[in-house]
């Protein structure tokens, strides 16, 4: 092998590299995914509990963070493994299990106010991100079970600790139809 045969070969290889690289770069800008639609699609996969366990103030900010690459797909405990997998699949990434630092994935639950102990202070009302608690100052409060997402944000403000979390009534049926392990 001498320079006469080496030079053309190197030249062709280099030329191909330049051309293909330029083409890829141009295509990357032309075919870039619409960032807004990505956020919408990510948000649609999240469970909408608005609990803040992912350290973002709501599901949509978390979706924005995932889309921008700031956050991983492993931060949503209420969504559980299914959501973590779906988020990763949408982005074409390797699915990661839910990081326990952000919380524990629990079965669906609803908050229940012990009406005997409720003092009607109305501090839990603004805390609920989906307005599932009805009540008014000095009136007993109650949680609308169908609208509660079990996000637990009402527990801290309550001064008498009268709110408990119970398994959601739909849970038993869900357990019966869980996929077979065989």
């Amino acid at each position: 092998m001498n320079a006469a045969t080496l030079l053309p070969a190197v030249g062709v290889a280099a030329g191909l590299a330049v051309v293909l690289g330029a083409a890829l770069g141009w295509l990357a800008t032309r075919l870039r995914a619409d960032p807004d639609s990505l956020v919408e699609r990510l948000d649609a996969l999240l469970p909408q509990t608005q609990c803040g366990q992912c350290r973002y103030p709501g599901c949509r900010p978390y979706a924005v963070a995932i889309a921008s690459g700031e956050a991983g797909t492993d931060r949503c405990p209420p969504g559980g493994e299914a959501t973590a997998r779906a988020l990763a699949t949408l982005l074409g990434r390797e699915p990661r299990p839910v990081d326990p630092r952000y919380g524990e994935t629990r079965p669906p639950q609803v908050a229940v106010i012990d009406e005997a102990r409720c003092i009607g202070c109305a501090l839990c009302l603004p805390a609920c991100p989906v307005d599932a608690i009805v009540g008014a100052p000095r009136f007993v409060h109650t949680v609308i079970e169908a609208q509660c997402t079990g996000c637990e944000l009402c527990l801290p403000p309550c001064p008498v600790d009268c709110i408990a979390l119970l398994p959601s009534p739909g849970e038993a049926y869900r357990a019966c139809t869980a996929p077979a392990s065989a």
């Binding site: 909408q48 989906v130 307005d131 996929p179 077979a180």
Partner: protein
């Protein structure tokens, strides 16, 4: 292998499907036997459609034959008492679908009819009036689905269907009550068809039979000739399972498929079972609502298989007893409500007859060969070859195991008619159909959760907007107060 491959004219009538041994000869050796009224009638509020009617009687109410005991709502038709006597209880009892609320009536043995039940002069009524009159008859789909007939015909009238299709196919092995009905009461079927034609407004009616029923065909042709109604015709189809499934039958008869998720009126057809037609005929000729039906009692585990005319609410045990009782050699192994492929296994013979119950199969182990050990799928593709709706059960099975909802949707889980053909031919003995049923339920749960998430999100948005508005209002009030304080101060200064 049992796979069917055949042609009727140039076009195959059914893709896939199975040609099975029919096992229908023994009950048809005798004519239909009339079963006496039960001493206790157990009337399930859910007669097979999945929805319960609303009971309108309470324990202690006296009822007669034909008294309405439950009001129809949604997919449940009116329910009438088949015996005269007293309502004992309204309670949970074992039924074909597990358990359900039942009205338990104790018969006084007198069989008193409800006064005021009279024949209907149906030919003088126009479509809407006829539908209203039919609605009071408790008529429901006798083919198994038990959907209220009047409601179905009304929907068909609104959609402007042009063909009324009578389903006399009875493609599933062991069941032969429709065959017996056509042999002995073809004139009832013809009358019922003409009434339903008037009710739904269709221009013509076709009665579909399978080619393994020559006696039924002859009887029907004679009845049609006697009626002389040119709008009615017969079509004979090859005996393949599951050609009797509504969507597949329609495609075979008119050559067009019902679009997925849509109902038959969309292609101009409404389908009814021949048993339903006979019940309609009885209602208009005698005023008697749907109180009895033909049930095939068969299987090697019963001594004398037969077709019985039984009252709704009769416990299955009485049907078996009327056929000689359970045999001992070989002993009865399973009790199936329905045929060998789509039937439901019953845990007890205390289950009552409902409008949707067409067969009681007392099966020995030899009657119904059962699975050996299950092994992994070897991807042989036999399941896809027999699937009548052209699904890929192999792929659905994998998607169901992986809980891959997108895959399940892509491979058409919602189009599965749960006929069981794929299970039947699978060499790995995989319970495919059971897996699809479970996957369907999980899919519905998932969809319900998604809908809930969308609503929750909307509430959250409203919550934030309200908080923003409240904060904005507070700020403006503060600004206004501050300005007022300033101008006051300036004024005073």
């Amino acid at each position: 292998m049992h796979r069917a491959g055949f042609r009727m004219s140039a076009r195959p009538v059914l893709r896939g499907g199975l040609r099975l041994e029919s096992h229908k000869a023994r009950p048809l050796e005798h004519s239909v036997q009339l079963l006496p009224a039960p001493s206790i009638a157990v009337l399930a509020l859910d007669q097979g459609s999945g929805e319960e009617a609303r009971a309108v009687v309470t324990p202690g109410t006296r009822v007669r034959v034909g008294t309405r005991v439950a009001a129809g709502i949604g997919a449940a038709a009116d329910l009438h008492s088949p015996v005269s006597g007293e309502v004992r209880a309204v309670e949970l009892r074992p039924t074909a679908s597990g358990q359900g609320t039942c009205i338990v009536v104790a018969s006084d043995g007198r069989d008193e009819r409800e006064p005021g039940l009279a024949p209907l002069n149906w030919s003088t009524l126009d479509g809407a009036a006829l539908l209203e009159a039919l609605a009071g008859g408790g008529l429901a789909g006798f083919g198994g689905a038990a959907f209220p007939t009047a409601a179905k015909l009304a929907l068909a009238r609104v959609a402007g269907v042009e063909l009324l299709l009578l389903n006399g196919a009875e493609c599933e092995p062991w069941i032969c009550c429709d065959d017996a009905l056509l042999r002995e009461r073809a004139s009832d079927v013809v009358l019922g068809t003409r009434v339903m034609l008037a009710a739904c407004g269709a221009r013509r009616a076709t009665i579909a039979l399978e080619d393994d029923k020559p006696e039924a065909r002859a009887a029907l042709e004679a009845a049609l000739a006697a009626a002389g109604d040119a709008r009615l015709a017969i079509v004979v189809l090859p005996a393949v399972f599951p050609l009797g499934a509504e969507g597949l039958l329609i495609a075979a008869v008119i050559g067009r498929e019902v679009p997925t998720g849509a109902l038959p009126p969309e292609v101009g057809v409404v389908c009814q079972n021949v048993g339903t037609a006979a019940a309609v005929a009885r209602y208009v000729s005698a005023g008697m609502p749907a109180l009895t039906r033909l049930v095939t009692v068969t299987g090697s585990g019963v001594r004398r298989p037969a077709n019985l005319e039984a009252r709704i609410g009769t416990p299955v045990a009485e049907l078996v007893a009327a056929c000689g009782g359970y045999g001992d050699t070989p002993p009865a192994a399973r009790l199936i409500a329905g045929g060998s492929l789509t039937g439901r296994a019953l845990a007890t013979d205390a289950v009552p007859v409902t409008k949707g119950l067409n067969c009681v199969l007392v099966a020995t182990a030899a009657d119904l060969p059962w699975r050996e050990a299950q092994v992994p799928c070897i991807r042989c593709g036999d399941c896809a070859a027999v699937c009548p709706v052209a699904l890929l059960p192999q792929q659905l099975h994998r998607a169901a195991r992986a809980d891959d909802l997108a895959g399940l949707a892509r491979f058409g889980l919602t189009d599965c008619i749960e006929c069981g053909c794929c299970d039947y031919v699978c060499p790995s003995a995989i319970p495919l159909t059971a897996g699809f049923r479970a996957a369907r339920e999980r899919q519905q749960l998932h969809e319900a959760e998604r809908r809930r998430a969308v609503e929750t999100k909307a509430r959250y948005e409203r919550h934030r907007r309200r908080q923003g508005e409240e904060a904005e209002a507070e700020r403006r009030a503060f600004e206004a107060a501050r300005r007022r304080a300033q101008s006051d101060g300036a004024g005073r200064a």
